[in-house]
Symmetry: C2
Subunit: 336 residues, 2 copies
């Protein structure tokens, strides 16, 4: 199999450079890269390393012809058409290229102890950054300024970078699940939604907290309590053996009881690891069963257009008995 | 033509979402995206917007069949095999898909006044961040800490984010052209190479400065003076009408005169705009001529393995008479 997705190459080989393809066979495995990464590749990987000054695709084609390989899988969701066209030329020599999807991604869903330790660190770093940013949340700061300060703290606390573009959304902006920070100022009497994570040693974490500037009105408190209850119910539903849909349904049932289900417009969670979004997906109709060692987010939310959004999200480790919350930070409603 | 590269979609339509494809025809143009970006798309683009809950490729295939399009270009260097395979199914209806490369990228090489203003701001922001970081460069800080502080200042000064992963490389680490910041501490008697840029309103800048902690030995000063002379020569060679190779050769000739050419292991520069690396490439054998409105980096460097690297880089605007340096920051050797 030819592996071209950087996250998958990293997972299988340990190589972290930006330009490296992995050819994995029954009897031999080789990483093909360019001279910029020669030293790094030899340090990071156990398999053979092939360094080329030309395009990786040409070198790959030569290798498979030389080795007489006949049938090779490739990652259809990652390989660009241009590279595919280059590989296809080897069909004249009788090589068959077979599109594959999700093969390595499925391996990545269950984490090893080594990986769990890395996600644990990334999660702890994010939780610490939340604790550090809360005292700064005051009217007058803009969403962008808060995002800047939060990312700065993530890195000061040991993150290599923010795991994704940090979301800081105030008031009505928080009703957009994928809001980007704007120049809008924090205002008393409004919620602030913070969705962020740390990337550390190639592993990510992902968490969300929604706080309120000043005392929250009763209506907001009720909504917040419902989302928190839904998140707790989903957390309690997590354990090895249940389906992803079961966990999603646990959150949805609570919001349904509060007549808020129509405001919950996304899935309950997703896997986290080398990438921020990976397998499994915790949504309606997902029949795959959770397994010990999976790391997933639990993040129900409700979105009221023009008023506010509330989302509470943790990164958790799936265990035999239940789950361990890795992003340990307060979830009671903070009125700042 | 089907445009799927996010940077190209952004350039042609103004759409900045993460999931949008543009179908550009003689008589009609449509942006296809998903419901998350419906409001944003209508705000940002002038053309028709088609919103789909399913995969973009299926909607695209339906549209071209409905419109009776027969021959459609696509971006071979960007489109994934999976999407290509989906589009290919329309071949049964007589649609021919033609691989194209660099069509929009070549349009992007010459910037409009509107774009130049954006790059100018991104360049000014980076230059200001350099001025702000210099007083902090003291022995004991790690490369990662300096990168964290520099990125923080970029954003405080108005950048939406660092334009790329900031390089801070000390002593022998600076000899690696693509060094990543490590936990190595800044030390008196060693150089510090800083390569960074601001992204602001979707446009990037790119600059490098090499400073020395403490008084530099004569050998280092000689090397630094040679690189600075090479950079000045290249800057003086820039103007509309010369070839990219001419500019590269101007830098290379100076280093050759100092018997340092073998230490200059990369090209002299590249275009900067929506992406940090775009057309043109300023290297050996590049016969394309510079044109007014191009924005390019000029960045000769020399790398002595185990000792140090020195690179001096500016982002400049190509004009009829010469060039305008947009990253205005000191280039004399700073001994801190």
């Amino acid at each position: 199999m030819l592996v071209t997705s950087p996250a998958n190459v990293r997972y299988l080989s340990g190589f972290t450079g930006s330009n490296g393809w992995l050819l994995v066979g029954g009897d031999r495995t080789v990483l093909v890269t360019d001279p910029r990464y020669e030293i790094q590749a030899h340090t990071q990987v156990d398999c053979d390393v092939w360094v080329t000054r030309s395009k990786l695709v040409g070198t790959l084609a030569k290798l498979v012809r030389k080795w007489g390989w006949r049938r090779i899988g490739f990652e259809t969701a990652h390989l660009r058409h241009e590279a595919y066209a280059g590989l296809s030329e080897t069909a004249q020599s009788g090589v068959e290229w077979v599109p594959l999807k999700g093969w390595v991604e499925r391996l990545r869903a269950c984490k090893s102890q080594w990986e769990i330790e890395r996600v644990r660190q990334a999660a702890a770093t994010a939780a610490q950054a939340f604790d550090a940013i809360v005292p700064l949340l005051k009217p007058g700061l803009t969403e962008k300024e808060v995002a800047t300060e939060l990312d700065y703290r993530l890195r000061r606390l040991g993150a290599d970078r923010a795991a994704f573009e940090t979301i800081v959304a105030t008031g009505p902006n928080s009703a957009l699940p994928h809001a980007q920070p704007t120049d809008r100022q924090l205002q008393a009497g409004e919620p602030v939604l913070l969705d962020f994570g740390a990337q550390r040693h190639c592993y990510a974490s992902d968490m969300t907290r929604t706080v309120h500037l000043g005392a929250a009105p009763a209506s907001f408190r009720r909504l917040y309590a419902a989302v928190l209850e839904a998140q707790q119910a989903a957390l309690e539903a997590v354990r090895a053996g249940v389906t992803s849909a079961d966990v999603d349904e646990a959150a949805r049932a609570v919001l349904s009881r509060h007549k808020l289900e129509s405001l919950f417009v996304h899935a309950t969670g997703h896997g986290v690891g080398i990438e921020v979004h990976e397998l499994p997906r915790l949504g309606k109709g997902e029949r795959a069963r959770l397994r010990e060692g999976m790391v997933v987010t639990i993040e129900p939310g409700i979105y009221v257009e023009g008023y506010c959004g509330i989302r509470i999200e943790d990164t958790v480790l799936v265990t035999q008995q239940g789950c361990e919350v890795l992003t340990q930070a307060p979830k009671n409603l903070l009125e700042l």
